[in-house]
């Protein structure tokens, strides 16, 4: 079980005032390093864009690659659960347009928001005015967002999309390529400084080579370690999760699933993990077909798109496939996942009795994960029992097992 990130620190709230202290300390270190690097000085920052002093690029990319190699090494070693790490969701077009606007603000104002904070803290009046302008800009955005709300919320939305998925390469390889790119950029930056900034490069500290070596070694390590597969991730959390299966805490009865469909405060997603042929033959109305082998790719979508009140119920004919799917989803960090108890066979035992089109087969004739009912045609969800009448089955009793566990709300997260 990966220990990090620590659960206690994942959410700041007034109920746990000491979490403010933890984030305050992180902020302190952040501000301290920014100021020490010269980021409180707007002239130093602006010099970046005239190729005279490329400190901005060096510090930024230096920080990105350092944090990146450490993060993915920690994840590869199983110390850190990367699913619990906030990854900025991709909103491509608002991101690019916002980025261009930020670039304009950067060169006119001479700061970015973080650097203007440390500039203000050290008495730079231009930093203070930038910060005040920033508050006004934030106010303006809040007031004008309603005019392009829809574009802002959906345009170019890809959710939690990582570069390795974009390029179809293993994470470690992408990490290595970015390290190489950064080292090349550092070299290029120094050439530019020599040409445009008349910088004397003859006295370079030896530590630079050590740093480059450190990055390359860690990047190589991420390739060697790889990132944990869903099976490996499940193996790590198995001690916590196996009892849930053994005590049947996550197996919910057909009656509960049926009643949950009609609950307003829960968004129920039925995941039918059987092969498509079986899904076409018969499925519960509203169920999505995600065959077992497609689940790894599907998890990213689930994590990115789903509102926090979503509950998943995985469905197969019995419980074997659905339990496998449950393990994958849980290993992938999907919250609120349950299994249809006894699968569709059990569902049909409850709701199929009065379905005139369906005939039960003798139990002895069927093997595991096979439907014990006879269907006249592949009607999918157009059978009566696929969408049982809420009036007729209102009184159905069951033991309530679904407990909605709200995931941490990140709607205002990231930089905001």
């Amino acid at each position: 079980m990966p220990v990090f990130p620590l659960k206690a620190f994942q959410q700041v709230s007034s109920a746990n005032p000491w979490t403010y202290l933890v984030f305050g300390l992180i902020g302190f270190a952040f501000g301290f390093v920014l100021e020490s690097s010269g980021f409180g000085n707007s002239r130093k920052l602006a010099a970046q864009f005239y190729f005279k002093d490329l400190t901005v690029l060096k510090v930024m990319f230096g920080a990105i690659v350092t944090a990146m190699v450490l993060l993915f090494t920690a994840s590869g070693m199983g110390i850190l659960d990367f699913n619990q790490v906030w990854v900025n969701p991709t909103y491509l077009w608002s991101g690019i347009l916002g980025g261009l606007i930020m670039g304009i603000g950067f060169i006119i104002g001479g700061f970015c928001p973080g650097t203007s904070v440390v500039a203000t803290a050290t008495g730079k009046l231009d930093g203070l005015f930038f910060l005040l302008g920033g508050f006004f800009g934030a106010f303006l955005f809040g007031e004008t967002e309603k005019y392009f709300d829809q574009w802002w919320n959906i345009s170019g939305y890809y959710g939690r999309l990582l570069l390795p998925e974009v390029f179809g390469l293993p994470t470690g390889v992408v990490v290595m390529l970015i390290v190489l790119m950064a080292l090349f950029m550092f070299w290029g930056a120094e050439q530019l400084e020599r040409i445009f900034g008349q910088r004397d490069l003859s006295r370079k500290p030896k530590m630079q080579m050590v740093g480059a070596l450190f990055l390359l070694v860690f990047a190589a390590l991420t390739i060697v370690l790889g990132q944990p597969s869903l099976e490996e991730k499940y193996a790590r959390i198995a001690p916590q999760k196996e009892p849930l299966l053994q005590n049947r805490e996550v197996y919910v009865s057909p009656a509960e699933v049926f009643h949950t469909i009609h609950k307003q405060y829960i968004r129920l997603v039925l995941l039918d993990v059987r092969p498509e042929v079986q899904y076409n033959l018969y499925h519960i109305r509203g169920a999505e077909n995600v065959p077992l082998e497609q689940i790894p790719a599907y998890i990213r979508k689930l994590l990115a798109y789903s509102p926090s009140n979503t509950v998943y119920v995985v469905i197969s004919n019995d419980e074997k496939l659905s339990t496998q799917a449950w393990k994958m989803l849980v290993a992938g960090g999907v919250p609120n996942v349950y299994i249809l108890e006894g699968g569709l066979n059990n569902w049909l035992a409850v709701f199929g009795k009065d379905d005139p089109q369906i005939k039960a087969l003798p139990v002895s004739t069927s093997a595991e994960e096979e439907l014990r009912y006879l269907f006249p045609a592949a009607l999918g969800d157009r059978y009566q029992s696929a969408a049982p009448s809420p009036i007729k089955y209102e009184e159905l009793e069951y033991e309530e097992k679904i407990k909605l566990e709200l995931k941490r709300d990140k709607s205002g997260g990231g930089c905001g």
Partner: protein
């Protein structure tokens, strides 16, 4: 204004640390933030939340009717109850302490030699306004998107990062008199 610079006059401002060391240390802070809390760093989000907090004091009903503000401060939600707010105040303090230790705590205006103080302050305000407007649109600034998203390999953050540098480099030539 004068009193602070007088006190500091006796002490020479120490040079900044080497950019690569700065990058390494900043990366270490970023990594520790992710490792411990699952969150990265940020700044503009706190500016947005502080603004919304003030708005919520003056016109709470307006906040409840505006979709973007509603998410942060709708009803009895406190917009300041978020991890990014202590980060912001911590950074303010951390910057001040670093400046103080290194003799850089000094009231001054940094600008190019060809523009007046007034122009510089006006443009700083304007730049801040444009920057944070863009940062809110992009859902994060150079810290929350470029640094944090860059390190976690978020595809959108990398696109945004190139857009920021692209925008700044594209305009840099036309405003060269401001800085050189």
């Amino acid at each position: 204004m004068a009193s602070i610079s007088k006190v500091r006059k006796t002490r020479e401002a120490k040079p900044y640390i080497h950019p690569y060391l700065g990058g390494f240390l900043l990366g270490l802070v970023l990594f520790l933030a992710f490792l411990l809390t699952g969150n990265g760093l940020g700044a503009s989000g706190a500016m947005s939340r502080l603004t919304v907090f003030v708005e919520d004091q003056i016109a709470p009903q307006h906040v409840d009717r505006t979709p973007y503000l509603l998410k942060m401060a709708g009803g009895d939600k406190n917009p300041l109850d978020d991890w990014i707010v202590p980060i912001f105040f911590g950074a303010l303090l951390g910057g001040a302490v670093s400046g103080w230790l290194n003799g850089r705590l000094k009231i001054e205006i940094n600008k190019g030699p060809r523009i007046s103080n007034r122009t510089r302050l006006l443009l700083a305000f304007l730049g801040g306004m444009i920057m944070v407007y863009g940062a809110r649109m992009a859902r994060g600034c150079t810290s929350g998107q470029a640094l944090s998203g860059g390190a976690t390999l978020a595809a959108g953050s990398w696109a945004l990062m190139f857009a920021v540098f692209g925008g700044a480099y594209a305009l840099a030539y036309f405003v060269r008199k401001l800085w050189n």
